[in-house]
């Protein structure tokens, strides 16, 4: 019964979406201003229907209703509850429903907030949003219905791929989708502004919070995915330049560019048409990501069971959401007038460079990801483009970006430098030379990319600290009575996010330059060297978990001075229901680096294969990601509080 309710509300949501998409345009035609008030209400009804539907699916997973085909195929009664719940989005149909769920929640959120936004604009934006929603609801209902019933229910389900039974994975898709789908709202804003000819300051002001939320979630989602891959896949890496990872990186780069360019529109009414274009491209790239994952075009850990009709359907959505918007852009774009010529030495020019480099970076990722597919289609030759390509193209561009990140924040809007910024750059430059010199000397030479990476990180770190100190000091010297209040309203969001990048870079460089690894075939009692540390294989034992049996190795790590660092217990798990084995890496985390052990195959006579890694500073990567994501949220909150104060000031 509950399943049928879910199915019914999904159909209802589809019909509501169609109405919601039609209302603003009908209202335009009929000149019915009042009708525009209907769209936000429809958006809320739509969100209610989809939420009911989504909850019904989760319920079917919770109670293990195996008469539902999806549950029978992907769940099992012996699974822990949390993975039963997360299992509802660990498959194609369920994750699609979650996508739609988040989409409708964003619609309702816009309907309920930003009361001051002109009715016409809000209505049109929600209308465009509803069209996307209708397309995906049709996709779900006609090709991937999660509520399909089986005529005879099996006694138990097939189970969920054990690799996917994990907390990281329970959280990774929802956050990533929050980001992808958040970009849909920026897209809807852009299309609505093109339709209404209203690309201006206010438009940017209303759109910006959504971009910040989407960007923050996307950053966190990608970070979670990388964290999961790091500890679960047992390869010890955190980024593999896998096509599906690239598919999430491209919209991230576009969204990062958008996050910055929308500020320029809000402050200076510059870069207007470019920002509109970025909003369209950002969402198109996230659809492209979805297409790659769903179509079975690529094989990777992310692929769901592939089905050509589904691929075609998404391709149709993709073409429909890129083609007409770009046409609209071509027609309306020339009408958008930006604010006079750009000064070379100004904050806005700095942000243009930021956008330019980010777009270049995403193009290199695009080429590396799609060239193999294109080549195979054209000539049938099968190739892969590996990490070296991305290191040779993506990394230098991002390096340049990091250098400019140390410069642009010290530029002022319109024209000129912040006083004393030359001093900051001198300090940063000398710090860069001295510290990278020390690194070079200490290591008896490092590769050029390694030194360049260290140098740019130091540059950014010092320039950032300089910027923060300078602005706070100037504020303090002006001796305002409300120093603290004003201090809170400084650009903390940007600073936190940029500090996040420095921390991230420290992690990435520490692991990239100083990691060590060793592989050995060992019997209990034997010892292996890992860099300057030692690992002793103490014992091997059996254990059984809730739905698996495990083989556990115990390793004792000691450093040069024979001080114990810790005990590592990597596992090999056998899941009888799914008939699969997985390796569970053991990780000893410290602030200055992780020790990572994986148990390979083996037996008691020949010994066991054991892989060990030392990964200096690797956790800083995820600290950095968290800071970046919080920076965007902080910026949103600070901006709100500032606006509220301004309003209060106007009223009194």
């Amino acid at each position: 019964m509950i399943t049928e309710i879910g199915h019914f509300s999904l159909i209802l949501a589809f019909i509501v979406s169609l109405c919601q998409g039609a209302v603003p345009f009908y209202a335009r035609y009929k000149m019915g201003e009042q009708m525009h008030l209907l769209t936000p209400r429809l958006a809320i009804i739509n969100a209610l229907c989809v939420s009911i539907s989504f909850l019904c699916l989760v319920w079917a997973f919770i109670v293990s209703d195996f008469s539902v085909a999806l549950v029978a195929e992907h769940s099992h009664s012996s699974k822990p509850m949390i993975y039963k719940i997360s299992g509802s989005w660990g498959n194609h149909e369920g994750s699609l429903l979650m996508w739609i769920f988040i989409l409708s929640i964003f619609g309702a959120a816009l309907a309920l907030t930003q009361k001051a936004m002109p009715v016409l604009h809000k209505s049109t934006t929600l209308g465009v949003q509803a069209m996307i929603s209708a397309a995906f609801l049709a996709f779900s209902l006609f090709t991937s219905n999660p509520f399909e019933r089986l005529t005879s229910a099996p006694i138990d389900g097939n189970g969920l791929n054990p690799v996917l039974q994990d907390v990281g994975l329970a959280m990774h898709p929802p956050t990533l989708y929050l980001g992808y789908v958040g970009l849909s709202l920026a897209f809807s804003f852009a299309i609505a502004a093109l339709i209404n000819n209203s690309v201006d300051k206010n438009w940017a002001r209303y759109m910006r919070p959504w971009v910040q939320i989407a960007w923050s979630a996307l950053t966190l989602g990608i970070g979670l995915g990388s964290w999961w891959a790091y500890y679960e896949l047992g390869w010890g890496g955190w980024w593999f330049w896998d096509p599906v990872e690239n598919a999430s990186l491209m919209p991230w780069l576009a969204a990062t560019a958008l996050l910055h360019s929308v500020i320029v529109v809000e402050r200076q009414e510059h870069l207007k048409s470019w920002t509109v274009l970025l909003a369209i491209i950002g969402f198109s790239l996230s659809l492209l990501g979805t297409f790659i994952v769903r179509s079975g075009l690529l094989t990777s850990v992310h692929s769901f069971a592939s089905d050509p009709t589904r691929g075609l359907f998404i391709l149709a959505i993709l073409i429909f959401s890129i083609g007409p918007p770009l046409m609209l852009f071509a027609i309306r774009g020339p009408n958008i007038k930006s604010n006079g010529p750009l000064q070379l030495l100004s904050r806005e020019a700095g942000l243009v460079i930021n956008n330019f480099l980010l777009v270049c970076a995403s193009i290199t990722v695009l080429i590396g990801t799609f060239y193999p597919i294109a080549l195979e289609m054209v000539s049938g030759t099968k190739i892969t483009v590996g990490p070296p390509y991305f290191m040779a193209t993506f990394n230098p561009i991002m390096g340049l970006l990091v250098i400019f990140m140390g410069i642009a924040p010290l530029l002022m809007w319109r024209r000129g430098l912040l006083p004393k910024s030359a001093k900051i750059w001198m300090i940063a430059l000398s710090a860069l030379i001295i510290i990278s010199g020390l690194f070079y000397w200490e290591n008896n030479g490092l590769s050029i990319p390694a030194i360049a990476g260290i140098a740019t990180t130091i540059w950014l770190g010092f320039a950032l600290i300089g910027d923060i100190v300078l602005r706070i000091r100037t504020l303090y010297k002006n001796n305002h009575s409300d120093f603290w209040k004003r201090c809170v309203h400084l650009q903390w969001g940007m600073w936190v996010a940029h500090i996040g990048i420095v921390i991230f870079l420290i992690g990435a460089l520490g692991d990239g330059i100083y990691r060590s690894e060793s592989i050995a075939r060992m019997n209990p009692g034997e010892t292996v060297l890992l860099g300057t540390d030692k690992a002793e294989f103490m014992a091997i034992s059996n254990n059984s978990g809730p739905n698996y049996d495990a083989l556990i190795a115990t390793l004792k790590l000691t450093d040069q001075a024979n001080q114990q660092i810790g005990i590592l217990q990597p596992e090999k798990r056998i899941y009888p229901v799914e008939r699969q084995t997985t390796t569970e890496a053991a990780i000893k985390r410290t602030l200055t680096g992780d020790y990572y052990a994986v148990l390979g195959d083996g037996n008691i006579t020949d010994g066991y294969t054991i892989r060990l890694y030392h990964k200096p500073y690797i956790s800083w990567i995820w600290f950095g990601v968290i800071l970046m994501a919080s920076g965007a949220v902080a910026s949103l909150l600070i901006e709100r509080s500032k606006n509220r104060q301004k309003h209060a000031g106007l009223l009194t």
Binding site: I383, T393, T582, D606
Partner: protein, 144 residues
């Protein structure tokens, strides 16, 4: 500078940068492409000292492990290729498994740096699935 010459200069700088970026990208692409072959497609002269990927099924009974070094044979319908690999084999590496090895040739033995097989036991790398279906060795997954 007049706005016009400024714009020209900006355009010039952007073009130079883009051209350099495009050049670097293309050369990086050219150097870092890894080709994929099944054993019957291997042409030693053509491959030379390049890094390539070899894919196929692990021949039954061909796996020999000595300490850390494993030797095994990757086969397709018509041909076999001996592979040497030092390191940890993937979890589900076994007879009849579809695998991909990346590495270089030393005379006619393939020295692999990486051996890939996915966690899913039904997993078949798509490149292999396509080619093996063409050759009729493997019929695809049993329908689910």
């Amino acid at each position: 500078m007049s706005p016009k010459s400024k714009r020209l200069m900006l355009f010039f700088v952007a073009t130079v940068f883009l051209a350099t970026a495009a050049g670097l990208t293309l050369s990086a692409l050219k150097e870092n492409i890894v080709y994929f072959f099944t054993p019957s497609e291997i042409n030693l002269q053509e491959i030379g000292n390049r890094s390539v990927r070899i894919g196929g099924l692990v021949q039954s009974g061909s796996i020999k492990i000595e300490g850390l070094t494993a030797s095994f044979i990757i086969e397709d319908a018509d041909s076999q290729q001996v592979v040497l690999y030092k390191g940890a084999l993937p979890d589900i590496f076994r007879d009849g498994q579809g695998v991909i090895a990346e590495g270089k040739f030393n005379t006619n033995i393939f020295i692999a740096d990486v051996v890939m097989a996915k966690h899913d036991e039904q997993y078949m790398p798509r490149e292999i699935a396509d080619k093996l279906k063409e050759q009729g060795v493997w019929q695809g997954d049993a329908p689910k």
